[in-house]
Symmetry: C2
Subunit: 355 residues, 2 copies
């Protein structure tokens, strides 16, 4: 791998108080960039001062959304060291996204080095207050300045990072979720399994609408039957129904979440039966009404595990676990965060120590 | 409307020979920009030298594809004047796209002024060789530098323009189209009816694949049944079957093309029956096999009308009109281009004279 050239910032930003952080706004002093050109491959990896990108107004990313991204975190442990959680899974998922979006594959070591070297350089930015972390956003964009609808020959892979506060400053708190019955986010054959901009663009209107009505996120139904549960805004979703754990299967329109995968592993470790299968909204509401829906929660890097206290769809509204945190939800949250912040053993080799 | 402030370029590019132009690459010397901020509305309309935009690496458009665009042309007539074709239709469609993508509505006069004032300033760039024109690309992007999945409070509407050569330098030429049976571009409830980046990003892989196999574009099937014809890469599609004109109805996942709308009007003027309805690929291939598929063509701003000479799906392959240009296809092409280049009457008030 080519050596990463480092150009240090001349001025440094003040590090924000983690208790007042808005998610994803307080970018650090540097960013990682590497260029790709057809025929030349990936070249010129570099860390440079954080600042605006000079993008041609005709660049593909601005018109045809040739863009993919990832999201992971760096955690500071009690002894002051810094570690990542399953970073290679993110790199591999990015390459899966790239394949769908006609973007180039990036060598795993290069993509990972972009993350690790930037975090090491910005290590003072990794906060140490409880439940805070450094959010890492790798992304790849197609940059050809040409209006024809074609994949780009010139791309960049960029990593930016920002400290983020506790997702639940007052402790885990159940959220209200609206089952979206108008807009569709993704469909089989489309781009739902890829972490690509268009899926999120498609979700903004329903998200705004849900928020205006007092819900924190929407639960998406499949685009074909408009009946089967897919995932929440930026989380996969799991249910405990009649003692069994259920979660939608990875059918091609759902993002294969790394937190989801980790939760399934832990649940199996603990002896639970986990069924990955098609789950209709009807089944879910019926289970809520007949009392067999014991718990519901979302899983994702940002919130780790998010208890769902209320589910609404059209005029129907059901409360889950009496709007309390369910036992498994809490256990998963504790187990995962204990591993991530280095408070517990790491039996599955999920942790990569950095410095 | 606020006055448009003009900052002229210091150096000017050489104007390319229109016979060698690659579509969408030869941008002119200036661009139009206007800002939007929640609470303040649209402000500071300006024409500035064409050049890179300074975009924060955390901007929504780079991660969540909050972006929409339009495409239209300025035509130079025989007497040297310049005119647009149905520009208000583009402005209105952009506002429809904005509504779906949680972008702000832009006043029609402002959006239009961005187009007309830029074209007037760049009038020397409007080529005069046969079938050449100035392509106009208005687009709108969400620019908030924040990684939360929310709509932007700060946006820009930008117009860039470039001369484009004749789409068919050797005259109208039938194209080969592949009916895509793996990837899906759009689905009802999704964003198919909006001119937004994500739809095009979703289409790149299939487009690359079709091109590698010798096809010029793909014909998309609907995302629900994977059976019904929707549209071609960047064109709507029409068929003449047993004397009648058929075209897929605007069902929510198809872009409401302005060329489509214009063709339907002309066909009705000429006494043809036009049916806008669901058309299955099966029906189409059957019609080809039993000889009732008389013509097939695409409609879109870039190519105006594009005869389809071959249709393939899986192992099936059919020739349309003996791979010749059909009579109606040619008539539509001639009628539309005659109106666009001012060689014929404009009975429906489609033309807006500029200068
Ligand atoms: C749409 C969507 N689903 C699910 C997830 C959860 O994935 P992960 O657990 O890898 O963060 C995310 C990302 O955070 C997401 O954006
Ligand atoms: C997906 C798609 N369909 C159809 C069209 C045709 O629309 P119009 O006739 O307005 O150019 C376009 C744009 O050119 C397009 O991008």
């Amino acid at each position: 791998m080519e050596e990463i050239k480092i150009t240090r910032a001349q001025t440094f930003k003040e590090k924000p108080d983690p208790s007042t952080l808005v998610f994803g706004k307080a970018m650090t002093d540097h960013m990682f960039i590497v260029d790709y050109d057809v025929g030349q491959g990936w070249h010129d990896p570099r860390i440079v001062p954080y600042g605006p990108l000079a993008i041609d107004p005709a660049a593909k990313v601005l018109h045809y959304a040739q863009e993919i991204f990832e999201g992971l975190k760096a955690y500071r442990t009690a002894d002051g060291s810094i570690q990542l959680f399953r970073p290679l899974d993110n790199v591999r998922r990015m390459n899966d996204s790239a394949a769908r979006m006609s973007l180039p594959q990036i060598p795993e070591d290069l993509a990972l080095a972009g993350i690790t070297e930037l975090v090491k350089l910005e290590q003072e930015w990794v906060p140490s207050a409880k439940d805070t972390s450094l959010y890492i956003r790798p992304f790849m964009v197609g940059l050809d300045a040409a209006l024809g609808v074609h994949s780009s020959h010139h791309c960049q892979y960029i990593v930016i990072v920002c400290p983020v506060g506790a997702y639940y400053p007052e402790g885990l708190d159940p959220v209200k979720i609206y089952v979206e019955d108008q807009d569709v986010r993704a469909v089989k054959g489309g781009t739902g399994m890829a972490k690509t901009g268009g899926n999120y663009a498609a979700s903004l209107r329903a998200g705004d609408r849900a928020e205006a009505n007092g819900y924190s996120q929407v639960l998406w139904l499949d685009g074909v039957h408009r009946k089967y549960i897919e995932e929440v805004g930026s989380m996969n979703v799991m249910f405990k129904i009649a003692g069994k754990i259920l979660t939608p299967d990875l059918n091609g329109s759902v993002l294969p979440g790394i937190t989801r995968r980790s939760c399934i592993q832990l649940l199996k470790d603990w002896g639970y039966e986990v069924e990955e299968r098609r789950i209709s909204a009807e089944e879910l509401f019926e289970a809520a009404e007949n009392g067999t829906l014991e718990e519901a929660w979302g899983t994702g890097t940002a919130a780790v595990v998010s208890p769902i206290g209320e589910l609404a769809m059209g005029d129907k509204k059901v409360t889950v676990s009496n709007n309390q945190i369910g036992e498994i939800t809490q256990r998963l949250y504790d187990a995962l965060t204990d591993i991530q912040w280095g408070r517990a053993e790491d039996p599955h080799d999920w942790i990569m120590k950095l410095c």
